[in-house]
């Protein structure tokens, strides 16, 4: 009983409430992970190591930010992982195989992301398909599309040092001295702040939350539900396009048919960060934190000498625990 009261005192603390219990827990877990990895691996706390964690974080963070919007409406977008590869393949194909200007490749990458996002949104909001099924179908479609565009060949975006290689500096800027600046972190930060503002301070964001909270009530308030639902998927598509750029900047090459499973890391990150699977609540800051956990696990586990197969099991279990916390939280609410 006393324990319970203590818990309440903790959870009712205004500062705690402002930040959110889950986010505090996530930060603690994050710190724990960092401590664990730095103890177990001598090379964890190096600048280079930081750079490589960042490489993982960029694209996951973008995907996470995007899919958070879908999750908040009570939907989901399963096509983001495969889509990210597909758009990067298409853009890279134009640049490297058809010798088009880099900017065209970037625009096509982003454009495809936005377009597929729009299609997802329309299928869900106007077509009335379950988000899950709709995006499963687009996932299959973009998977095939990426391979067909490139003729089944893998694509390597222009490499650093070549005239077209400037895209790589977008996320990791190389100073003349050779020092690399994780510039992408800045973009992620800006995106997170901007999207946080959009989510919390603008009408579209407000209505996206409202839809996830109670779709019918939102409709009765005279809000065009279909429009804002579509917008959520559109935002998700836009960020998938950004993620495709971040991915090709960090890892250059991608194979057609790949990317399946990346959406799990992004969705997992969002859920760890406190976004609810049932919609209505979620924060961008939480998603960024959750995504950090995912990318630290992904980069840290190989460093502590764990075989790849165990890594998957661990990440799977982490995901289950995160969802269970979400379920418990919802139970308490109702």
């Amino acid at each position: 009983m006393t324990n319970k009261k203590k818990g309440n005192a903790f959870t009712n603390n205004p500062i705690v409430r402002a930040i959110g219990v889950q986010k505090i827990v996530v930060v603690l877990v994050l710190i724990l992970l960092l401590v664990f990895f730095s103890v177990k691996s001598s090379s964890f706390w190096t600048y280079a190591s930081l750079l490589s964690i960042m490489d993982y974080t960029y694209y996951l963070a973008f995907l996470g930010i995007g899919v958070t919007f879908c999750l908040i409406t009570g939907g989901v977008d399963l096509s983001i992982g495969t889509g990210m590869f597909c758009y990067a393949l298409a853009g890279g194909y134009l640049i490297t195989k058809l010798d088009m200007p880099v900017i065209v490749g970037i625009l096509v990458t982003m454009g495809m992301g936005i377009l597929v996002g729009l299609v997802n949104g329309l299928i869900v909001s106007k077509g009335g398909h379950a988000p899950f099924l709709a995006t499963l179908c687009t996932m299959m479609i973009v998977r095939g599309l990426g391979a067909i565009i490139t003729g089944g060949s893998s694509i390597t975006w222009p490499i650093a040092g070549t005239p077209e290689g400037w895209t790589r500096n977008l996320f990791k800027f190389t100073l003349p001295s050779g020092t690399k600046i994780p510039l992408g972190f800045l973009w992620v930060l800006i995106a997170a702040v901007v999207m946080s503002i959009i989510l919390n301070k603008t009408r579209p964001g407000r209505y996206i939350i409202a839809i996830g909270s109670n779709k019918e009530a939102t409709r009765l308030s005279g809000i065009n539900v279909a429009k804002y639902q579509t917008l959520a998927y559109l935002i998700c598509g836009f960020f998938t396009g950004l993620a495709a750029l971040a991915y090709s900047s960090a890892f250059q090459s991608m194979t057609p048919g790949g990317g399946g499973g990346v959406e799990l890391n992004a969705i997992g990150g969002a859920i760890i960060g406190g976004t609810s699977m049932s919609g209505g609540s979620g924060t961008i800051a939480g998603t960024i934190l959750g995504v950090f956990i995912m990318s630290i696990l992904q980069t840290g586990l190989p460093k502590v000498g764990l075989q790849a197969n165990y890594q998957q099991i661990i990440i799977g279990v982490v995901l289950l625990v995160a969802v269970y916390i979400d379920v418990l939280k919802n139970k308490k609410l109702s």
Binding site: L133, M140, V317
Partner: protein, 337 residues
């Protein structure tokens, strides 16, 4: 149109399944016509027994996967782990067979049991802990992949050939059998038998009745004094078991399984099931539809390969067919209300 729908025979089979069946036939005709035109090889011919046999390779294991996931989707849930679970089962059982020399029969049973175990895991997590089936099965997918790799030390496992000296190869007859110079697609026969059994379970037994009703209105079923958690878990167990069976049919054709893979099969199995008229929101399921859905996908794959096209067209077309079929279903249901 309505007249056709009211016809007793059509009603029994289900209008949607009938439409789907027509799509299947049309697709076959389409490929029969297109293949000679498109293919660079002059004597390309799609209308052969060999092509049908070849399509059955895929249809068999995919069919069992799809049948299994139909039960889960009927409860309103989803299972994203079936593909990797199938591989995990084939890896573990195959490893015991080839490395540890377990008898074949035991390994086949083990194969099914591994599938069942994952079914139990998913079912318990979903029903007793109340986790969303989507994330749960995604997580168990990762676990299945990891487990398969750990168990086999990341090596592929090759199940024995038909002519294997150990005499362990007979399981391959489950898919195809040579009978007097003629190749018989035993796998198709077994798949149909499996589908009939599944249809009976779904439509004629208590389990099926409860599974469907849980998908429609879980709370109403619970308040009727039914142990909903138990029956819902059973749906996941059936799904896992069928994934285990699918594993036997997979190795029956392809013999070799690699660790860390299998997730692409999830989408195809779910697509086949949904194409067949099973509703993602639960409560409505058609085993016959699932079977036809899988056959359509098998035909697509075979036809597209024969035309010399990239296999990727299959994904695109499957995705589109599912969207269209489900949309048509949504529309007709909306109009009825």
């Amino acid at each position: 149109m309505d007249k056709i729908k009211e016809n007793a025979f059509v009603k029994k089979i289900g209008f949607n399944s009938l439409v789907l069946f027509c799509i299947l036939i049309l697709l076959y005709i389409l490929f029969a016509v297109l293949v000679p035109v498109v293919n660079s090889d002059a004597n390309a011919n799609f209308v052969t027994w060999a092509h049908i046999l070849s399509a059955m390779n895929y249809a068999c294991f995919m069919g069992f996967l799809s049948l299994g996931v139909t039960f889960v989707i009927a409860t309103g849930g989803i299972d994203f782990s079936i593909g990797p679970v199938m591989f995990c089962a084939a890896l573990i059982a195959g490893y015991q067979l080839t490395t540890n020399g377990w008898p074949l029969a035991l390994c086949l049973i083990l194969c099914i049991l591994v599938g069942t175990a994952f079914g139990v895991l998913n079912g318990l997590l979903v029903t007793y802990l109340g986790l969303p089936s989507f994330i749960t099965s995604m997580a168990s997918m990762m676990i299945a992949k990891g487990l398969g790799s750990v168990f086999t030390k990341t090596q592929p496992v090759s199940w024995p050939q038909l002519s294997d000296a150990s005499g362990n190869g007979w399981y391959r007859n489950l898919v195809r059998m040579q009978v007097g110079g003629m190749t018989v697609p035993t796998g198709l026969v077994l798949l149909v038998i499996g589908a009939v059994i599944c249809a009976i379970i779904l439509n004629k037994t208590k389990a099926g009745r409860y599974i469907l009703c849980i998908g429609s209105n879980r709370e109403a079923v619970r308040l009727s004094g039914v142990n909903t958690k138990g029956w819902e878990t059973l749906a996941y167990i059936l799904c896992g078991t069928l994934a285990g069976i699918a594993a036997i049919f997979y190795v029956g054709v392809y013999t070799t399984v690699q660790p860390g893979l299998g997730d692409t099969f999830n989408n195809e199995a779910i697509a086949g099931c949904v194409m067949g008229g099973t509703s993602m929101t639960g409560g409505v399921a058609s085993i016959g539809g699932t079977l036809i859905g899988v056959l359509i996908m098998a035909l697509l794959q075979e036809g597209i390969m024969t035309m010399g096209l990239q296999i990727n067209y299959q994904y695109i077309i499957t995705g589109l067919i599912v969207l269209v079929v489900v949309y048509a279903d949504l529309r007709s249901r909306r109009r009825r209300n």
